[in-house]
């Protein structure tokens, strides 16, 4: 009964949302026509052209890391404070690996170690090419972290050097803010893209955006790695 009611409530909510979405007045049709919109200039870019006023080749990136970079900074902070919380609750001074009750066999060990490099490289690639291809700092960082996870799986005594992650995390975060403040001092606005935009499609283009994405990737990767470490260790009683 309870389940049924819950289902009913969820369905009701869904219906309400769909109905109210149909009431919209501005985007009542998902048309391709973007003329007259602010996003117009992002739509008609060609590979190899000079970049418009702002923006990398990947439009999503231009939204995430430039247009709403401040929100992204906020989201980084959300992740940061979450990992702090995990460390606060789970982390202690003296820690050892959690005994999960299984020991990796030979195949798992070797296979994981082989995969580690590949995944790590993928993560790095995704991060660095965030302004050109789908992906970017968040998934890239998560990939880096999942490669760390593999290491943890491969060896039940493995501990990452958390101290190093801490430094990475801190420096990456600080640099993000500092880039923002630099924008404030060099070019009037906080987080403004004050570097040259370059040519669409080049690796070194779109100003500070690749920089920011790399920082995000590092930060996300190190933070999630830290979280994983905290989850997989326990305090020595």
């Amino acid at each position: 009964m309870k389940n049924f009611l819950a289902l009913l409530a969820a369905l009701g909510l869904g219906v309400l949302i769909i109905l109210s979405l149909q009431n919209n007045t501005l985007f009542n049709e998902y048309g391709e026509d973007v003329t007259g919109r602010d996003s117009e200039e992002y739509g008609d870019r060609e590979y190899g052209e000079e970049n418009p006023a702002s923006g990398p080749a990947n439009i999503v990136t231009s939204i995430v890391a430039d247009f709403r970079s401040f929100d992204t900074l906020g989201e980084i902070t959300v992740l940061f404070v979450s990992s702090l919380g995990v460390a606060l609750l789970l982390g202690g001074t003296k820690q050892k690996r959690l005994d999960l009750g299984f020991h990796p066999n030979f195949m798992l060990r070797i296979g994981s170690k082989a995969l580690f490099g590949i995944i790590l490289m993928t993560g790095v690639y995704v991060t660095i090419h965030g302004h050109l291809t789908p992906g970017g700092g968040f998934p890239g960082g998560a990939m880096i972290a999942s490669s760390m996870l593999l290491l943890y799986l491969a060896d039940d005594t493995f501990r990452a050097k958390i101290k190093g992650f801490k430094i990475l995390e801190s420096v990456a975060g600080s640099l993000y803010v500092l880039i923002g403040i630099a924008g404030l001092f060099f070019a009037d606005y906080f987080l403004e893209n004050f570097l040259n935009n370059g040519v669409v499609g080049d690796l070194l283009s779109a100003g500070i955006i690749p920089l920011i994405y790399v920082l995000i990737g590092l930060k996300v990767g190190s933070e999630i790695s830290g979280v994983i470490d905290n989850f997989l260790t326990e305090e020595v009683v």
Binding site: N3, V60, L100, P134, A142, S146, L149
Partner: protein, 87 residues
């Protein structure tokens, strides 16, 4: 013959229905580990959904975080808690 777009729209609806079902199962399953698996499957489906809706960026992120990392963290936590329960 169905149009490309129409196929995708049908797919969207199928995915949506499956997602709802999976969410329901995840909430209601007695075994926690099963619930985690349902959740993982749910986010995998949502990845497909995102791809269908032409949002590769989101899809990549969801794939890595939603079905990869989060699931593994859940599993580890379950393993760890089980241990305390055995004691």
């Amino acid at each position: 013959m169905l149009d490309n777009i129409e196929v995708l729209q049908v797919l969207e609806i199928v995915i949506a229905v499956f997602m709802v079902v999976l969410a329901f199962l995840a909430i209601n399953s007695k075994s926690l580990i099963k619930a985690v698996m349902f959740l993982s499957a749910l986010s995998m489906l949502s990845v497909i959904g995102f791809v269908v809706m032409q949002a590769p960026d989101v899809a990549v992120t969801e794939a890595v975080i939603g079905s990869g990392l989060v699931t593994s963290l859940f599993v580890f936590t379950l393993l760890a808690t089980k241990k305390v329960g055995v004691k």
